[in-house]
Symmetry: C2
Subunit: 326 residues, 2 copies
């Protein structure tokens, strides 16, 4: 049985061995290597290996599909940063800042192909089902990103629509990381599905917590300034909850506040937080997170294996993802 | 045996059946449908069907891989237009003009996934080899686009580098269209390779002819104004031939002329053409095209099938591609 640390370092070793940056033309492949070596916690590919390891000792057969998932995930970050005009990722300049927008577009395109090359390096009898999961997921992630961009110009996004968006943009990739690992470990269909639902639920919890942390966490612990989502007017779980719950007058007040470009950032954040408090948003969201966490763990219980202690790794990973600095 | 027209209409029918534009979110999928329905001659997927049809009556099994190639080809045009800031494609506004740059990036990403979904809908025993050809080709097309962009800021591109660039950017996709069709038709390895070389040679001839037409064709017949490549200073086969052949003084004169932003477009075109004539570029390039054409047809002769008359369709297609309005 492999620990989370062992899984992460196995992935790290394989990513380092790809030597993508040495291929020609260098200025196509160097941005890819740059993105892949910026780090990140390798949680998705580690989940693939750990899901495989629930059912099989041969985690090796899940390594290249796991690498494919990590490469795909980083490709989405690369193109999202172009679309969001983000300058910084993981404390370093983004590719379109360091090279150019064209470099970011084209290197991203090549990265998506590389991800497919890696997933193709799996057991041939599993290839059709792995490809189906991988492509369906990739398309859903694009759909999620499109919904997220569409929400920017809307003020009537419902909690249901938000849930659908983060399911597509965030949760399905976590869920498919587990599903692909389980398929590589020859898990039966019921276990594959239980793990998939565990991943979806984990992803939703993770994203809602992420929204909460952006407003309520301790900046010293969270590692970045709070209130960023308030300043950009992002349609987070908190804002949508507040808008749904507010009466007409409070909703106008909140909307006017978010659109106000005259007041200082810290004043805006303080005033929005005061409105959130008045609407009991903080407590509601914390309750939702707790409920989702319980549901998440229930899905993991539905996975049927002889030795339940093998689930400890995934439990720890979920705890790590969700407890963070709350 | 299917004719070129039958192959094209079979592809057209299947592309129309995809109903991509109906999927949600609409603003992700509508640009994809727009691009796919703008037309284009469907030559690449038709080549896939015709290559399959050399060896098998069951062209149906090559249809989805052929559709995958057409979708991939259109994806590359979509992203290339963003990178080249091109406003018009096939007499209509490009996606980033009609929607937005972000729409063009994200819809392109989704299109690449769709292409993989379609190629996955092939005979399962062929899947590993089809995917390998497809991914290798996709990566080479990205590499070709990168070299092409790199050439923009260089003045010392050699004919050899140019050949390598157009092999990657243009020829490998034509060659792989044939290769994938041949694999679907269960052709033996030698025939698959002969068809691949036929495609490479055809692609190189096609691209060099395209460069020639941009300068020497009749605008009324060619359908667009000539001299566009001269005005943008594009590193074409003609310009590189001229720069390689010119003495130091003429080379300076040509470079200065291309960089001169003061003179009128038609004057610049006339003067560059005069320099080309002095350096005998027109005749050299026409000779090269003729030599490549002979080589192309020799590769087709190397394909060994019982009934050589089955090659007529591909011969016609090559003739159509290369004779055009020269």
């Amino acid at each position: 049985m492999h620990t989370l640390e062992e899984c992460c370092s196995l992935i790290e070793k394989h990513i380092n061995r790809l030597n993508i940056g040495l291929k020609a033309p260098r200025n196509l492949y160097e941005p890819i290597e740059y993105v892949l070596k910026q780090g990140g916690k390798r949680l998705r590919p580690a989940m693939t290996l750990m899901a495989c390891n629930l059912f099989s000792e041969e985690v090796q057969q899940a390594v290249m599909p796991a690498v494919a998932i990590e490469v795909f995930h980083n490709f989405t970050l690369l193109h999202d940063d172009v679309m969001d005009k983000a300058d910084i990722r993981r404390n370093q300049p983004t590719v379109h800042k360091k090279w150019s927008e064209n470099a970011a577009i084209l290197s991203g395109d090549a990265m998506q192909v590389l991800a497919y090359q890696y997933i193709t390096q799996s057991r041939q009898d599993l290839l059709p089902s792995l490809l189906q999961v991988f492509s369906d997921t990739a398309l859903q992630v694009c759909e999620g990103q499109q919904y997220d961009m569409n929400f920017e110009t809307r003020s009537d996004v419902s909690i249901e629509e938000y849930r659908h968006m983060i399911t597509l943009k965030t949760a399905v990739l976590l869920a498919s990381s587990l599903k692909i690992g389980a398929i590589c470990g020859d898990a039966d269909k019921q276990n594959v599905e239980a793990l998939y639902h565990f991943g979806i639920s984990l992803g939703l919890t993770f994203q809602i917590l992420d929204d909460w942390l952006d407003v309520y966490s301790d900046p010293k612990v969270f590692g970045k300034a709070t209130g960023g989502d308030i300043l950009t007017g992002k349609k987070t779980f908190l804002l949508i909850t507040a808008l749904e719950r507010a009466d007409a007058a409070t909703r106008s007040q909140l909307t006017a506040l978010l659109n106000n470009r005259e007041i200082a950032d810290d004043v805006k954040i303080t005033q929005v937080k005061a409105l959130y408090d008045r609407l009991d948003v903080n407590r509601t969201v914390q309750q939702t997170i707790d409920e989702y966490y319980i549901e998440t763990m229930q899905y993991l219980q539905k996975v049927q294996i002889a030795d339940d202690s093998r689930k400890e790794g995934l439990k720890n990973l979920a705890g790590m993802l969700l407890k963070r600095e709350k």
